[in-house]
């Protein structure tokens, strides 16, 4: 069945994904005059960046003294020293520039009395190397992601960017040398499959939070970029590190921003105690997210949860001035009324830690280039945002650093593409003869499968397995069992069946193809987590407890290194953490406390 042909379209660059990082990269490329295609499963402003709430970090110092070096320190500490210090320095130094740029693009930031960008406190944001909370999160009420995504889309309208809306990328095209030559994509409206042949391919496909049953993430967050990369032989880095956001609405999973605590919100248990004072005496409710989530689960596990089943805690803002809530947290009030059935002006919000963000991803350097195991760039391939692992978030991301990551690395990846295209480092290489065979075989298998597995049930089983075996606290035996279960689920995924065979807007087909990506991410996560025999950041296991030799269970001798999961044979390899920043001194390993 070789040499099946599909239409081919040629571009200088193809960007897959039109959330924050994809749109930021697209601005660079369009304004530089490169022939660029941006593919997105959804209309750009429906991408999940739109749901970010609290802010984007930058040491603007608009309300009090701040410095990028302090921001860098907080990020390294937040990452539990697993973040690469060159990338972290790059991001924190660039933050003021990219945030101001966004303001120039039209972003409707809230303002201080002097007319500057409004900044609020956030978890883990401290002044003077961890001393006391600082206002660093630049905010547009509690709709920062929405305001940002629309401003970035609008700038792209101005730049005449060419969008392919409601196209799903299916597979990466690589030649024998390993160079990336574009993607094969499916137009959802017509069912047509087309090759986007390009000099440069930028992945900005976002995260895969939908591998968990309870998630703040949108339905579309199915790790498509990760699945495509894994199938094309590119390893996934640090996939055991998943952030559970402390405050998802109990039952619904919808996000309640950390900005609520930034504005003075307090977490309380069933005895009305402000329990974070016990876990983080200094930062309290504004400790890092992994720390707060573990404290909440501990409270619930020890019987101090609220409600009839004692299975959530309360986020209390009833002591705040209603005018402040209406002005700074209007979206949160709407969400609480809609999804918790309570008005937070009058009653506390029931919350529970909920899967939120993937710290790992496709390995990149700080220029947004995807790198091989030895650190050399893979020609023609770039990635930015949640799909990428630069690694700036290490084992735990600080709140508001995700929106910053989008801007900084979206722009950096765009600049790298421009440089590589203009210098002739990458050109339009010929497509291999059989480039479409693998993808067409996948589609054909799905179209002809009979007696196969139900997509919805298989996905639910995957999500429940991840939730049960790979949650906030992890247990050795559960992880081992989890790996075996995921391997079983993988077999079902290989023989999914859909009843809908229509060529027109076939959402059943799209969901089956998304499941092909979810399983890669789930497997990478479970296998990497089972293997990492220490506790670090968001990865905490029962057999790596807090001891004098290994405070917080962190084992720097054995495990201060990045995981690389390879799809072939589900094999693991490791690479060192980059401890040398670009211009300042190394922030040396230290026990983490808040």
């Amino acid at each position: 069945m070789s040499k099946l042909t599909i239409p081919v379209r040629k571009f200088d660059a193809v960007i897959v994904g039109a959330g924050g990082s994809g749109l930021r990269a697209a601005i660079q490329l369009s304004e530089a005059g490169l022939k660029t295609a941006v593919l997105s499963k959804v209309f750009p402003t429906r991408s999940h960046t739109v749901a970010a709430q609290g802010g984007v970090s930058a040491s603007l110092g608009n309300s009090e003294e701040d410095h990028w070096h302090w921001h860098m320190y907080d990020t390294v500490k937040g990452s539990d020293w697993l973040g690469d210090q060159d990338a972290i320095e790059y991001m924190c130094r660039k933050a003021p520039e990219v945030v101001v740029e966004l303001e120039h693009f039209g972003m409707p930031f809230d303002r201080t009395d002097e007319g500057k960008i409004y900044q609020r406190p956030f978890g883990g944001h401290m002044s003077n190397f961890g001393e006391k909370p600082v206002r660093r999160a630049c905010a547009a009420a509690d709709r920062t992601g929405h305001a940002m995504l629309h401003a970035l889309y609008q700038r792209n309208v101005r730049a005449n960017t060419q969008f392919f809306v409601e196209w799903m990328a299916l597979d990466l095209i690589r030649d024998d040398s390993g160079q990336v030559l574009g993607v094969i994509a499916l137009e959802m409206e017509t069912g047509e499959v087309v090759a986007f042949h390009s000099k440069a391919t930028v992945f900005a496909t976002g995260g895969a939070g939908r591998i968990f049953y309870s998630s703040t993430n949108a339905f579309i967050n199915t790790g498509d970029g990760l699945g495509m990369a894994a199938r094309a032989g590119i390893p996934l880095e640090d996939m055991e590190f998943w952030q559970f956001h402390p405050t998802g609405v109990a039952g619904a999973g919808v996000l309640i921003t950390e900005g609520v605590r930034g504005e003075g919100g307090i977490l309380r248990n069933s005895t009305n105690e402000r329990f974070m004072e016990r876990y983080a005496p200094n930062a309290k409710d504004l400790a890092s997210r992994d720390v707060v989530s573990r404290a909440m689960v501990t409270e619930i596990n020890e019987g101090r949860g609220c409600g009839p089943n004692k299975d959530f805690v309360l986020l209390d803002i009833t002591h705040l001035d209603p005018a402040t809530i209406m002005k700074r947290l209007p979206g949160i009030r709407e969400i609480s009324i809609q999804f918790a059935g309570i008005d937070p002006i009058k009653a506390p919000i029931p919350v529970v830690p909920t899967c939120h963000y993937q710290m790992g991803g496709v390995p990149t350097n700080y220029k947004g280039q995807v790198v091989a195991d030895d650190g050399t760039p893979i020609r023609g391939f770039y990635a930015a945002g949640e799909v990428a692992c630069a690694s700036v978030h290490g084992a735990n991301r600080l709140g508001t650093n995700s929106l910053l990551d989008l801007l900084v690395f979206g722009k950096a990846s765009g600049d790298s593409v421009i440089e590589d295209v203009k210098s002739g480092t990458i050109g339009l290489k010929e497509l291999p003869a059989n480039f479409a065979d693998f993808t067409l075989a996948r589609l054909n298998r799905l179209n002809t499968q009979t007696g196969g597995a139900n997509v919805n049930e298989t996905r639910l089983e995957l999500q429940r397995t991840m939730q049960k075996h790979c949650g906030v606290f992890r247990f050795k035996d559960m992880l081992i069992e989890g790996v075996a279960k995921i391997v079983e689920i993988e077999k079902a995924v290989a023989r999914t069946e859909i009843k809908d065979k229509s060529q027109v807007w076939n959402t059943a087909r799209v969901e089956a193809l998304e499941l092909d990506n979810l399983i890669e991410v789930a497997k990478a996560t479970m296998v990497s987590a089972e293997a990492r025999k220490e506790s670090r950041g968001a990865h905490v296991r029962d057999d790596a407890p807090d001891t004098a030799a290994n405070p917080n269970g962190r084992d720097d001798v054995g495990w201060h290194k990045h995981t690389l999961w390879h799809r072939e044979g589900s094999a693991l390899s490791y690479k060192p953490v980059i401890m040398t920043p670009l211009s300042v001194e190394t922030i040396a390993l230290k026990t983490r406390s808040y």
């Binding site: 409707p108 007319g115 305001a147 339905f219 919808v254 229509s502």
Partner: protein, 237 residues
């Protein structure tokens, strides 16, 4: 008992196999302990019949994907409480736009109108090193405007948009036009007003206010349109 059966009538059309659209009667077991929103029910229905096609993403009313016509009124499935719905619940695609399949409409015309108002900040002056200053009061002017999620509930409930989707900008586009007119950082107010001073682009709005009635974010396009008209009058005298 938290479970009960709900009756639905859903617009179905797959051009690949159907000669014409039809309304499908479906009953579904609902568990009110878990299912709160219409989107929860659609998810249940899709688990049984994977051919039911609709758009959805964030499920929290911020992405604007799952707009549809629910018992005769446009709204977002993810924000619609099921217990308030009269049965049988009639679900149709957004009115006034071509149907692609089932509850999915072709939104090309809607976005064309949005793009036509130059939905981006125009300020060609030299870029300062820092942010452009804007007072809290000036920023306040953007509230009730910038929150638009482009779901199209408003424009597709507007009779004027139904008759002239190619000529009338529609409530969503006009709300966004005023979002930039009202922005103190934008320098193209006159050009923007010139562009709208047209019997169709702006003046097809007859203040029917369906847009205000259906906006899932509680925004008021009619007021924004009124402000644009006011500014036109003011600059004429």
């Amino acid at each position: 008992m938290t479970t009960s059966t709900m009756q639905f009538k859903i617009y179905r059309y797959d051009p690949d196999k159907d000669n014409a659209p039809y309304m499908q009667d479906i009953s579904v077991e609902v568990d009110f302990a878990i299912d709160r929103k219409l989107l929860d029910i659609l998810t249940r229905l899709k688990a049984k019949d994977d051919s039911l096609a609709y758009r959805r993403s964030c499920r929290e009313g911020i992405c604007g994907s799952d707009a549809m016509n629910i018992n005769g009124k446009n709204g977002l499935a993810c924000l619609t409480e099921i217990k308030d719905l009269k049965q049988p619940v009639v679900l149709r695609p957004l009115p006034g736009l071509p149907v692609i399949r089932d509850l999915i409409v072709d939104m090309t015309q809607f976005f064309k109108q949005y793009h036509s108002i130059k939905p981006y900040l125009i300020n060609e002056g030299p870029r300062p090193d820092r942010e452009r200053l804007q007072s809290p009061e000036e920023r306040e002017e953007l509230n009730g405007l910038y929150e638009c999620i482009l779901c199209a509930c408003c424009s597709t409930s507007c009779p004027s948009f139904w008759w002239n989707p190619d000529k009338f900008v529609g409530p969503a586009g006009l709300l966004n036009a005023y979002r930039f007119i009202a922005d103190t950082r934008d320098e193209a107010t006159n050009e923007r007003l010139d562009d709208l001073e047209d019997p169709y682009r702006l003046f097809r709005c007859h203040s029917i206010m369906n847009c205000v009635d259906v906006c899932p974010k509680g925004l008021n396009p009619t007021r924004a349109i009124g402000k644009i008209k006011e500014m036109m009058v003011r600059r004429a005298i």
